[in-house]
């Protein structure tokens, strides 16, 4: 995937990006591969939307009305969701999220859409940062979504249900770090997409190769990166500040 990049990219990043790109194209838990690739395409398109630009510049995004400049491959309510999350996430409110759900997007679909947006944005931002052309979006893979909702999801740490560690199966537990240094039990961000475990598991594979794996996060002397942990955290926190993200 990065054979011709002007920078040597770590093999673990290459391998994980190849898997993540296929993950976007494959049938998901609730959405077809075709729908998932369309979401990725609309995520890319959102950056150039004039309505989103106007909303971003306004004191409140909710006062600016209009139509998104979309690719016309998705229903309007999904386009609105993608464009808000992609371009102005720091001003998303619980009321807006509840309105999206009430407007016809199931909680499970909402999470899966967030997952696809996050995968696409992560990899696109990486290529943009290195001055590499963005990867062509993958061809959708045929097949039916699995439609399996995990048992035991509760609405206690987020606006949507998540699966706490005590209700998680082995697959989900693998991304909830425990017994590593003084690691807290399942940081809320790792639980965020657990209503659709496949999204959470795939995205945190990206997290562990691009940021820090759990065994490095909670153990000060362990650092698999070429830059110091202070430098890693400086980068992470400046990005988060620019995006208005408190967590």
């Amino acid at each position: 995937m990065y054979d011709h990049a002007p920078y040597a990219v770590r093999q673990d990043i290459v391998d994980t990006h190849v898997r993540a790109w296929r993950h976007i194209a494959a049938p998901g838990t609730w959405l077809t591969g075709e729908r998932r690739v369309a979401i990725a395409a609309e995520t890319r398109n959102a950056a150039a939307c004039p309505l989103c630009g106007e909303r971003k510049a306004s004191l409140s995004p909710y006062t600016v009305k209009g139509e998104h400049d979309s690719l016309k491959d998705l229903p309007e309510n999904i386009v609105e969701m993608i464009h808000r999350i992609a371009t102005d996430p720091g001003r998303i409110t619980q009321t807006w999220v509840e309105g999206v759900i009430a407007g016809g997007i199931a909680e499970t679909d909402y999470i899966e859409i967030v997952g696809v947006i996050a995968h696409c944005l992560c990899i696109d931002t990486f290529t943009d940062a290195l001055g590499i052309a963005r990867h062509l979006l993958p061809d959708p893979i045929e097949g039916e979504p699995s439609r399996e909702r995990p048992a035991g999801a509760v609405k206690d740490t987020a606006w949507l249900p998540t699966v706490p560690p005590e209700n998680a199966d082995e697959e989900l537990l693998a991304i909830y770090p425990r017994n590593i240094g003084d690691a807290p039990n399942a940081p809320h961000v790792r639980r965020a997409m657990s209503l659709v475990p496949a999204e959470a598991i795939s995205f945190f594979a990206l997290n562990d190769v691009q940021y820090l794996p759990p065994e490095a996060m909670w153990n000060l002397p362990v650092n698999p990166r070429s830059i110091s942990k202070s430098q890693v955290e400086l980068v992470a926190s400046r990005v988060s500040s620019l995006n208005g993200c408190f967590y």
Partner: protein, 111 residues
Amino acid sequence: MSLQTNKNTDLRIVTGAAADVEIENGVLFVRYVEAIVTGTVAKVASTRDALFRVLGNDAVVDAAAVAALFHAINRLADAIGIQFERSKLERTADLRDQLALDGMETARFSE
């Protein structure tokens, strides 16, 4: 207080409230990620080159990787409305105070 250095570090550069930071080559990293999130293609290239000249390939790739991951994970956190864990409140109090974080629109705390 940094656990790595045992020093109190002024981190206000994180919120744009300071122009420097006592982290080696900190300003180079910050300028690069500011360009990634808000800048032009040309700005990304020039700040990347500046980082590359001092620290080389692996540092650039690692910085790009972290920035890209957080650019995405920020959206995940705020689109799903995850709350800040009570267990982190005490040990982050000084930092949150220094950076005036609790007033952010996206500050959501566990009950």
